[in-house]
């Protein structure tokens, strides 16, 4: 990567970071949403042994973790592009940066956001419910692969709907169908990590998530560049 590209990407990334740190709106929303939903789930699972083999609760736990991460991402990630249009800064960005740099800068910021949210959800969930992770590496790889895939897909959806009517609601509505396959892979991986599913299946799911992330991050900038000037 040439220094010009690197500087542009880092400039966009720093802009996003500073904007977020100034208002803290996205961080607070995602954090609060994650906390409230995990507490609610923990209340529902109160006095239940989630690690009991054959109870099915490990499968449900895997699904719940991904549902929380999915909705926290949908709430938060499209904002990077939606705010540019709402604050009238999108045209300025078009003048100063190349589309690939804008996408990469924003997606890097969003990857950090999802990874932060996923870590918070994991710590709270495992702590509150006492779920035991039998295969930690599958858990970690699934979480990282899933977070990168989600960041890539939701950032792109945010860019696509940025100039549409009713953009905030629409971003979530069009992102969910794209994210459901990766939630399926994430749940398969996490079930294996919790000791419920087959380890081989979990490994395949974790690899699938990483591949999904790689493809989504590879095609994302090209698709974004195609709609950049419209």
């Amino acid at each position: 990567m040439s220094s010009g590209w690197k500087a542009e990407i880092l400039a966009v990334y720093r802009k996003e970071l500073q904007t977020e740190l100034r208002s803290k709106s996205g961080l607070v929303t995602a954090g609060l949403f994650s906390f409230v939903t995990v507490v609610t789930i923990s209340l529902v699972l109160f006095n239940k042994n989630v690690n009991a083999p054959g109870s099915g609760l490990q499968d449900i736990s895997a699904g719940l973790v991904w549902v929380v991460i999915l909705f926290a991402s949908i709430l938060n990630l499209p904002r990077t592009f939606l705010l540019e249009e709402e604050q009238g800064t999108a045209d300025l960005l078009r003048l100063f940066a190349r589309p690939h740099a804008v996408y990469w800068g924003k997606v890097l910021f969003n990857i950090l956001q999802v990874l932060g949210t996923a870590t918070l959800v994991s710590v709270l969930f495992l702590g509150f419910t006492g779920t035991r992770v039998s295969v930690p590496w599958i858990y970690v790889v699934s979480l990282i692969g899933g977070s990168c895939s989600m960041a890539g897909a939701v950032t792109l959806c945010g860019a696509i709907v940025a100039q549409a009517a009713n953009r905030a609601a629409l971003a979530g509505a069009i992102a969910v169908p794209l994210l459901l396959p990766l939630v399926q892979l994430g749940v398969t991986g996490m079930r294996a990590a919790f000791g419920s599913g087959l380890v081989g299946g979990g490994q395949a799911a974790a690899v699938g998530l990483v591949a999904y992330a790689a493809i989504m991050l590879a095609i994302g900038p090209w698709i974004y560049a195609a709609i950049w000037k419209t």
């Binding site: 897909a153 792109l156 959806c157 696509i160 709907v161 100039q163 549409a164 009517a165 009713n166 953009r167 629409l170 509505a173 069009i174 969910v176 169908p177 794209l178 994210l179 459901l180 396959p181 990766l182 399926q184 398969t188 599913g197 087959l198 299946g201 999904y212 493809i215 989504m216 095609i219 994302g220 698709i223 974004y224 560049a225 195609a226 709609i227 000037k229 419209t230």
Partner: protein, 266 residues
């Protein structure tokens, strides 16, 4: 009678022949012996009309995605954007919408015929079978595509952003349609066969009727697609009256605005 008249007659004859063939195949589908190994063998004939639908919806999905790609390639500015290019881009969008609209219709038909089959053979109309689920999710992607199109008033933004979404959706759709139902754990839990053709499980008269229905529905799809593209092109031309072609294929003269009195003279 001129050449146009002859072609019109030929078209009408072909339409009549198509309707006749459709009727013959429908009757034929009731003549073949009942399938074995089904709860209600006589109702297993739903399969004849169910099977071509997912094939067509998948084909149309990839055709629509390719047309969306062609639309976006021009937007990226790989070549100078003249007015002809703009018109060409609009035509690619019309083709993409035509293919995807038709694909959505076949997706709905897949769901309806699949639900009927599930109800009569397996006793429940919905059981989260991996195949049912994957086509439900494919339907959601189609729904999201059309919802996105309604959110833009500017035709150029509508076309470019919906094309971008379709390209982003190709990867999840490939996973849903081709990979997910064939995952070993998923395949074991499903009633739905996934390799019927590859394993040669459809034989004899059943294979002949299914092949005939596939051919006829494909012809019907091509015909409907062409009609939709023609309607879309006419809409495009009507928006720009000055470029509307005359009977001879030449551009019509610029429209003359005639003053009209707003008050009633009587």
């Amino acid at each position: 009678m001129d050449l146009r008249g002859h072609l019109e007659n030929l078209n009408n004859a072909l339409r009549a022949l198509f309707a006749l063939l459709m009727g013959v195949v429908t009757v034929w589908s009731f003549q073949v012996p009942d399938a074995v190994g089904f709860q209600r063998p006589e109702l297993a004939r739903i399969f004849f009309w169910h099977f071509p639908c997912p094939l067509l919806l998948t084909g149309l999905l990839f055709v629509g995605s390719y047309f969306s790609f062609r639309h976006l390639v021009r937007v990226q500015g790989f070549r100078v954007e003249s007015e002809t290019d703009n018109r060409e881009r609009q035509l690619w969008d019309i083709r993409a919408v035509a293919a995807l609209e038709l694909g959505f219709v076949f997706c709905v038909l897949t769901m309806i015929t699949g639900i009927l089959f599930s109800l009569v053979q397996w006793g429940v109309w919905w059981q989260w079978d991996p195949r049912q689920t994957s086509f439900l999710l494919a339907m959601l992607v189609y729904g999201a595509y059309f919802a996105l199109r309604t959110a833009f008033t500017d035709p150029e933004k509508r076309a470019a952003n919906s094309a971008a979404y379709m390209l982003a959706a190709v990867l999840p759709l490939i996973f849903l349609i081709f990979v997910y139902p064939r995952l070993p754990q998923v395949e074991q839990a499903s009633f739905h066969p996934t390799q019927s053709i590859m394993k040669g499980q459809i034989k004899g008269a059943y294979a002949q009727v299914v092949s005939a229905v596939i051919i006829l529905t494909t012809i019907l799809s091509v015909w409907l697609y062409r009609l939709r593209v023609r309607a879309g092109t006419l809409e495009l031309l009507a928006e720009d009256y000055g470029q509307l072609e005359t009977h001879g294929g030449h551009p019509a003269p610029t429209g003359v605005v005639r003053p009209v009195s707003l008050s009633d003279p009587h």
